[in-house]
C-alpha cells in the first residue's frame, strides 16, 4: 500500500473515531449531575444566580442552542461548531470563546510537553545504555536506582521540591508564570523525571536484548570499533521500539498536566480542562476532550509513520507500522 493511500485510510478512521468520542462524551456529560449555574451558586455562597454574572451567559447559550431543544439537536449544533471551529463562549471564562482558549493554551502545553520529553530522552538514553553495557554491575544498579527514584515521586511533589529549593531557597528561578525562558525550566524538569525513568528502563532492556543479537557479535567480528558497533548497530535498533512509548507519552503531556500547570500557574490546556470539568463548563469541556482525542490519535499515526520510516521490514510490508505490537502508555496522570 502506498503511503498516500495509507494516510487516506488512516484519516478516515481517525474521523470516525472522533465522532464516536464526541457522542460518548456528550452523552456522559448529559448524565453528569449539576450544571454550571448550580456550581457557581454553591461555590460563591449565593442563593440564586442573580448577580453572579452568569445570567447573561446562560442567556447567550440558550440563544445559541435554543432552550429546551432536544439533546440530539444540541449535539448537532455543537458538532457544527467543532467543524467550523466556532464553539461559542466558555461559561467559566466569560467573554472567551472555547476555540480561543484552546488556541492560546495548546502551544503552552505543547512546548512544555516537547521540552519535557526531550529532556527525558536526554536523561534516559545515556542512562539506559550505560546501565545495559554494565549489566548487573554496581554502576548498573546505582543508575537504575536513581532513575527509579524519579519514577517513584509524583511530578507535583518534585515540582514542590524544586520550588522550595530553586525559588524559595536559592532564588534562581521564578516559581510561577509563563513569559520568559526562566519560567520553563522548573516545570520541564518536574515533568521529565517520571517519563525519564520509564524510558531509561525501556532503553536498558531493549539495549540488553539487542546486545545479545548475533549481528552485534558479527559486526565486532568484522573488526568494528566497539563504540561504532554499539552506536550504529545496537543503539539504533534498540531505539526503534522506543518510538511506541514516546508517542503516547508526548500526547499525554501535551493534553496538559493538571498539577504541574496549577503549581506553576501555567495557562496550559490541563489547567483549563480541569477547571472546566469542575465547574461543568460544558462547551469548554467538550472542546478540550475532543481536542485531546485528536492529539492522541494524530500522535499514534505519527508513531506508526516513524516506525515504518525507521524499520525497513515494516515499510516493506506496506503497513507502515500497522502490524507492530502496540505498547500501552504507562504515563501516570
Amino acid at each position: 500500500m502506498g503511503l498516500l493511500r495509507y494516510l487516506g485510510s488512516r484519516a478516515g478512521r481517525l474521523a470516525l473515531s472522533l465522532i464516536a468520542v464526541s457522542i460518548i462524551t456528550f452523552g456522559l456529560l448529559q448524565l453528569a449531575p449539576g450544571n454550571f449555574a448550580d456550581i457557581q451558586r454553591v461555590t460563591s455562597g449565593a442563593t440564586s444566580i442573580a448577580g453572579t454574572g452568569t445570567e447573561s451567559m446562560l442567556a447567550e447559550t440558550q440563544a445559541r442552542y435554543g432552550e429546551g431543544t432536544p439533546v440530539v439537536e444540541q449535539y448537532l449544533t455543537f458538532m457544527q461548531g467543532v467543524v467550523t471551529w466556532d464553539m461559542g463562549p466558555s461559561y467559566r471564562y466569560a467573554g472567551r470563546a472555547v476555540e480561543d482558549i484552546i488556541e492560546s493554551a495548546f502551544p503552552v502545553s505543547a512546548t512544555l510537553a516537547v521540552l519535557a520529553v526531550l529532556l527525558a530522552l536526554l536523561i534516559a538514553i545515556p542512562a539506559g545504555v550505560y546501565a545495559a553495557l554494565r549489566q548487573n554491575s554496581k554502576s548498573d544498579h546505582t543508575t537504575m536506582f536513581l532513575v527509579t527514584l524519579g519514577h517513584a515521586l509524583p511530578n507535583y511533589l518534585i515540582a514542590a521540591f524544586l520550588i522550595i529549593v530553586f525559588t524559595a531557597y536559592l532564588g534562581w528561578f521564578p516559581s510561577s508564570g509563563w513569559s520568559t525562558l526562566d519560567h520553563v525550566v522548573l516545570p520541564v524538569v518536574a515533568l521529565s523525571l517520571g517519563p525519564a525513568a520509564v524510558l531509561a528502563r525501556y532503553v536498558r532492556s531493549s539495549m540488553l536484548e539487542t546486545l545479545r543479537e548475533e549481528y552485534v557479535t558479527a559486526a565486532l567480528a568484522k573488526g568494528g570499533p566497539y563504540r561504532t558497533v554499539i552506536l550504529r548497530h545496537a543503539l539504533r535498533n534498540s531505539l526503534i521500539p522506543l518510538v511506541t512509548v514516546v508517542g503516547p507519552l508526548l500526547a499525554a503531556l501535551m493534553t496538559g498536566t493538571v498539577f504541574v500547570e496549577a503549581l506553576f500557574r501555567i495557562p496550559g490546556l490541563g489547567y483549563y480542562a480541569a477547571t472546566a470539568a469542575a465547574s461543568r463548563d460544558m462547551p469548554l469541556l467538550m472542546g478540550t476532550v475532543l481536542f485531546f482525542a485528536l492529539i492522541i490519535m494524530v500522535m499514534n499515526l505519527l508513531v506508526d509513520l516513524t516506525y515504518g520510516f525507521l524499520d525497513p521490514r515494516i515499510r516493506a510490508e506496506g503497513g507502515w507500522g500497522r502490524s507492530r505490537p502496540r505498547k500501552v502508555s504507562t504515563q501516570p496522570a
Binding site: 543479537e213 557479535t217 567480528a221 573488526g223 535498533n237 525497513p312
Partner: protein, 339 residues
Amino acid sequence: MTMTEPRDGATAPTATEPLLHVADLHTEFRREQGEPLRAVDGVSFDIAPGRALAIVGESGSGKSVTMRTVLRLLPRTARTTAGTARFQGRDLLTLSARDMRRVRGRDIGMVFQNAMEAMNPTLTLERQLTEHLLWHGICGKAEAKKRAVQALADVGIPEPERRIRVYPFQLSGGMRQRAMIAMAMITQPALLIADEPTTAVDVTVQRQILDLLAGLKERGTGIIMITHDLGVARYFCDDAVVMYAGRVVERAPTRDLLDTPRHPYTRGLLGSSVEVGGRDRPLAPIPGSPPDLARRPVGCAFHPRCAEAQLPRCREDQELIEISTTRAAACWRAGDDDD
C-alpha cells in the same frame, strides 16, 4: 598449496609454519555459584593456508567457544585462562585490543550459522558489505561500493547493483547466506572461520555454499569449519578435529578419521550419522547425552556413554596419544587396534 599462493616473500606461510596454531587453549565460564565451567579445556590444532579443517562435535562440545576464544569475542562471563593462538606469527590472545580489532574482519573472516540473525535487519547490504572495508582503511567509499557489487556477483547473486540496496530480509535464505559469505570474503582474509555455515539452509543451497568455500580454499584461504555434519566434513575438509566436552578427542586427516576412527566417540558419531553411515548399516545412536560441564565425569568424559569402556582404566585422565605423525586420539586403546 595452490599456484596463487605467494611463495617467495619472507612472510609467506610454509608447511612448517601454520596459518593458525592453537595450543592448549583453556576458556571457562563464570557461574553464579560453584566452580567455573571449563568449556574449552586444553584444545590444540593447526591449520595451513589453503587447507580446510573441520571441528566436529555435538552441540555444547566447545566448538564455537573455541573459535570465539581465538577471535576474542567471548561473552563477559567467559575468561580465557591459558593457551596460545598464533596467527601469522603473532599470539592473538596477547594482542592489544586495537591490534586484535585490525585482525578481525580483515585477516580473519567469520561466517555465521544463520545469516538472518547475523546481519543487521535495518541496514542495507551495501552498508554491511562495505563498513569493514572502511573501518580497516582498505579503500574509500566509492571503491568499497564497487567491491561490494563485485563480491555479490562473485557469490552468484544476480543483479548485484540492485541487490546491494536491499535489506537482508528482502533476500531468499540461500541468497542471504551467500551474501554473508560475500561480506566475510570481501576483505580477502587469510583465514575464514565458518560456524555451521550450511546448517540453516536447504540441501541445494548447501552445495552452493560449499562450492563457494571450495573456491576460496583453492585461492589459498585457510578455512576452519565448525560443523556437526560428518558428511559436510568429508565433502569439504582436509583435516578434522573431534571435540567432546571441551577437549579434542581425535585429530586426523578427514579421510582417515572417517575410514578408521580411533576414538569410540568418533565411531559413535559415524554410527549415528545418516549420510556417512549409509543405507546398508543400521543407525546406532550414541546412548545418553553429552555431559553437563558442571558434572564432568572423572577421567575420560565419554566413558559413561562408551560401549567399550573398561572401568578402572577409563576413570583415569586421558591425554591425546599420537598414533602417527598426522593422527592422535584420546583413548588408551587407540594405539592397540593400529594395524
